[in-house]
């Protein structure tokens, strides 16, 4: 009996949900949100089933292929390995929670749910695609959906922010197209099969370096790395809460995932040659993000800048993996980098949800206007405190095992770069300041009647907090899968 095509089913379930909603004559808002949640739940079930099937020790597992444009060697190819599978699971979890959180939305719910479902297919597709054209298609579709989400449901100055986001990331993603074309024309037989490009990198010398530069531009915009990060705070401030959660939790991972999958695996020699430059980029990003976060008074901007910091650690991890001579060290660095992506998705997703809850109540995100919220809304307050501690890398919470492995590998390989640890201290200061101004101190009268978390909000935040603790305390369930792939990477 042929195996059920789980990856394809999981990938296209959200799209099917979107089509279903579009086909209904006059659905009520309740029903549409219901379909959204049900579809996302089924998708999560599919992702869990993929997790149960697991990955193989060499290369990709759960492969599914179908001819698409055979004359030029493009095909529908999907599959997962230890790097992409955790990200698929992360996407499925975050999208389900996003649908739960947003189920009270009554402003044009139909377009909203359809766009979000489209975005989910695009996200899972980006992580599972094994054909360069297919990857690019999903990569860009996500961009268009996110543009409309920010432009349609964002805050005051959303049009400008959405436009900046779109122009910036489109400008950023076109160099990737050039790199893909270069890899295609350089490969011995015309094919867009990413597995072939990874197994036998088609370019070398100057051509590989140019391709790497093009890819770095694309992924640096997406990650975002300093100095190509300026779109991020603007987009986050204007985006609706769910938009921010998906943008930070999932779409930033497109950049770091691409950095590993394309830049590191397809041009490994060029990446090694440029390793120190990329490492420096990561260190600067991490430190800049930390200091910029310290200067913010707007809670959402603050969280946005800490994302730049956390993504900087991922760049450091990947660069160290390229520079490391010992395969064991390389595996540690990549383990840390991939785990950091997952942890950041969960923790930052939770933070954006919580900030969104505060904004829904107070219509403000300025830290100075709050105070003593821990007494008024204890559940919300303690959730925020726990998540903030996770974000600053407290042991026992999700970021610690990830950042620890990255720093360890950095110390072994390029000790000077360990200066990046400084970022942790700055981020700690940032969050302590935010917690003190917002949640501690004298409770203000105007917030006395603020309601605590509703059931819908608890359902949104609780799974993320549980997962954050679970990864912090026992990361091995995740690391085992990641390690099976990272320990077998050849990178020659």
């Amino acid at each position: 009996m042929p195996m059920l095509p789980l990856v394809t089913i999981t990938l296209f379930l959200p799209l099917a949900g979107a089509v279903l909603i579009l086909a209904m004559p006059r659905p009520t808002a309740r029903r549409m949100h219901g379909i959204g949640i049900a579809t996302a739940a089924l998708t999560l079930a599919g992702a869990v089933a993929m997790w149960v099937r697991g990955v193989s020790d060499a290369g990709f597992a759960q492969l599914e292929e179908l001819e698409w444009i055979p004359v030029i060697g493009a095909a529908y190819r999907v599959g997962v390995d230890g790097i992409s599978l955790p990200l698929v699971l992360l996407s499925a979890v975050l999208f389900l929670l996003a649908f739960i959180f947003t189920s009270s939305l009554r402003e044009r719910p139909r377009s909203y749910v359809v766009l979000a479902l489209l975005l989910e297919t695009a996200a899972i597709g980006t992580f599972t695609a094994l054909d360069a054209i297919l990857f690019y298609v999903f990569f860009e579709v996500s961009l268009v959906s996110m543009y409309f989400m920010i432009a349609g449901w964002g805050h005051e100055d959303r049009q400008g922010a959405a436009l900046m986001f779109f122009l910036y990331t489109l400008l950023g993603s076109l160099p990737l197209l050039l790199a893909i074309l270069g890899l295609y024309l350089g490969s011995p037989e015309p094919s867009f099969d990413m597995r072939a490009w990874i197994a036998d990198p088609p370019l070398d010398g100057a051509a590989a370096m140019w391709a790497l530069v093009a890819m770095l531009i694309t992924f640096a915009v997406k990650i975002p790395a300093v100095p190509l990060h300026t779109w991020l705070p603007a987009a986050h401030v204007q985006a609706p809460t769910v938009g921010s959660v998906i943008l930070a939790g999932i779409m930033l991972k497109f950049g770091t995932y691409g950095l590993v999958r394309f830049a590191l695996q397809m041009t490994p020699d060029a990446f090694r040659d440029a390793g120190l430059v990329i490492l420096a980029l990561g260190v600067v990003s991490a430190l800049y993000g930390a200091f910029a976060a310290l200067a913010q008074t707007d809670l959402k901007r603050l969280v946005a800048y800490t994302s730049i910091n956390h993504m900087g650690y991922v760049i450091v991890g990947v660069a160290v993996a390229a520079l490391a001579v010992d395969p064991a060290v390389r595996a540690v660095a990549l383990d840390g980098a991939v785990l950091q992506m997952v942890s950041h998705g969960l923790v930052t997703g939770a933070l954006f949800f919580l900030v969104g809850m505060i904004q829904d109540r107070a219509h403000s995100r300025e830290m100075g206007e709050f105070g003593g919220l821990l007494n008024t809304v204890p559940l919300l307050g303690w959730s925020f405190v726990l998540t903030a501690f996770a974000s600053l890398g407290l042991p026992g919470l999700a970021h610690f095992p990830a950042e620890f492995q990255i720093f360890l590998a950095t110390l072994w390989t390029v000790p000077a770069a360990a200066v990046v640890v400084l970022g942790i201290a700055v981020i700690a200061g940032t969050y302590v300041k935010a917690i003190r101004e917002t949640f501690l101190g004298e409770a203000r009268d105007r917030w006395q009647s603020m309601p605590d978390m509703s059931l819908r909000e608890v359902l949104t935040a609780a799974p993320l907090l549980v997962l954050t603790v679970a990864i912090g305390v026992a990361p091995s369930w995740l690391l085992d899968i990641i390690h099976r792939t990272t320990s077998a990477l050849a990178l020659q």
Binding site: A151, L163, L170, L181
Partner: protein, 457 residues
């Protein structure tokens, strides 16, 4: 002789259709003229189907039955049908309605002649045939702007066509033959080769609205009926660009012509989008956008002879461009000619809004729409022909184009101030067909590619 005529059946069918439509008009039966024209064009499309995959010539090599000319029929004949439907809305009830349908068919014959040209004389014939028919079409409303636009168009066309004929005499003089396949020998006499190439670029460049021969384009589009603008932006343009590909196929790659075409491509793309960026009139904006899109075609033409992707990329992009551009014009036909008319379109008529967004994003080249597949192959062809810098310029222009098209998209989702008039039926049908084609070409490029790709050298 019989074989040659049999291979030309589609062209003959279109010609007869034009005559039949004219006869119906003489009997004052404009509805029948329209029906005859549509039926005739569909029959001609059907007659072209068996030709797919052929690579031969007729009448002593003067007309080519190859991938370019066959796919030109399969793309341009349905495009003419859609233009007829759009035109119906523009000219219904006017005095000589049927002549419009007849002239549209005649102009299409000209475009098909251009696309299959294997002889310099056919270049002249095709240019004149499309030209004469379209001057009259632009002038048809008889209003001052229309007459002025047609006059500009006419003067511009006369001069450029005269230059082309003059330059072609050099090629004829040097080669002793008008067959395009003999032009490779002209290289021995550099002066004649250069003059001839310049002549062809001028003559076909005006027809394809390449910068700097584009000046007539925005005025003619804006002055004439909207449906004629839609037609002009697709059928004669694709015919002329295919003709250019036919010409350069015979030229040696190392004689320097690719550099000339590449230069034109950069000029055309960049100028087209920069000018489009400052337009407030949607028709002028689309006119400049269609100028810029011609520049993208040149990426494929540059690679003719040096990349096997060149011809498939040109053909596929032609199909994609036809669908998305006609679609955008059809939506404009139901909405209005100024940007303000698009305000709130996406909220009051959501389906039309989605269709327009799809057309415009496809024009930018966003996957998985038709424009992406086309541009992707064009870029690949240019890089394959060692014109990586040209692909980089084209990509930079794609970003610029996003800014251009978002000028239409952004107001569509702002709150509406005025209610929009109920759309008429035919432009809706055209938009729907173009919408389906834009999605299908993007997702199922395989079926279109298998044909032209099989013939690639």
């Amino acid at each position: 002789m019989t074989r040659d005529l049999a291979l030309l059946l589609p062209e003959i069918a279109v010609l007869l259709t034009a005559v039949a439509a004219l006869c119906a008009e003489m009997l004052r039966r404009s509805r029948i003229a329209l029906t005859l024209a549509i039926a005739g064009l569909l029959v001609a499309t059907g007659l072209s189907m068996p030709l797919v995959g052929m690579d031969t010539t007729v009448f002593g090599g003067s007309f080519r039955i190859d991938a370019l000319s066959v796919w030109a029929k399969l793309i341009l004949l349905p495009a003419t049908v859609l233009s007829l439907l759009l035109a119906r809305d523009d000219v219904r009830g006017t005095a000589r309605e049927g002549t419009v349908y007849s002239l549209l068919c005649l102009a299409t014959v000209g475009a098909l002649v251009l696309a299959g040209a294997g002889d310099a004389m056919f270049l002249v014939l095709g240019t004149l045939l499309t030209g004469l028919a379209t001057f009259a079409l632009v002038a048809y409303p008889g209003t001052n702007p229309a007459t002025e636009a047609a006059m500009k168009f006419f003067v511009f066309a006369s001069v450029t066509t005269a230059v082309m004929i003059f330059g072609l005499t050099y090629w004829f003089g040097a080669a002793g033959s008008t067959l395009l396949t003999d032009m490779a020998d002209v290289d021995a006499i550099p002066m004649a080769a250069v003059v001839g190439l310049v002549a062809v670029v001028v003559g076909l460049g005006y027809k394809a609205s390449l910068v700097p021969f584009h000046f007539w384009t925005p005025d003619a589009y804006e002055g004439g009926p909207l449906s004629i603008a839609a037609y002009l932006s697709v059928v004669p343009k694709v015919g002329a660009l295919f003709a250019l590909a036919q010409v350069v196929r015979g030229l040696p790659v190392d004689s320097g012509w690719p550099a000339v075409i590449a230069g034109l491509a950069v000029l055309t793309m960049s100028y087209g989008y920069l000018a489009a960026l400052v337009q407030d009139n949607v028709i002028r904006l689309l006119a400049y956008s269609s100028i810029a899109q011609s520049g993208y075609f040149l990426l494929g033409i540059v690679a003719v002879g040096s990349s096997r992707l060149a011809l498939p990329s040109i053909i596929l992009f032609a199909a994609a461009y036809t669908a998305m551009n006609l679609g955008a014009f059809a939506v404009a036909a139901t909405t209005g000619r100024v940007l303000d008319a698009f305000r709130g379109l996406g909220r009051t008529r959501p389906l039309t809004g989605i269709a327009m967004v799809v057309f415009l994003l496809s024009l930018v080249g966003i996957p998985p729409l038709a424009g992406f597949v086309g541009k992707f192959l064009l870029f690949a062809a240019a890089i394959d022909a060692r014109f990586t810098w040209l692909a980089v310029v084209a990509i930079a222009n794609s970003v610029l184009s996003l800014a251009v098209y978002l000028r239409i998209v952004v107001p569509m989702y702002r709150p509406a101030e005025v209610s929009v008039a109920a759309p008429s039926a035919w432009p809706g049908v055209v938009a729907l067909t173009a919408f389906a084609a834009t999605l299908t070409i993007g997702l199922a490029a395989q079926f279109l590619l298998a044909g032209p790709m099989a013939l690639a050298p």
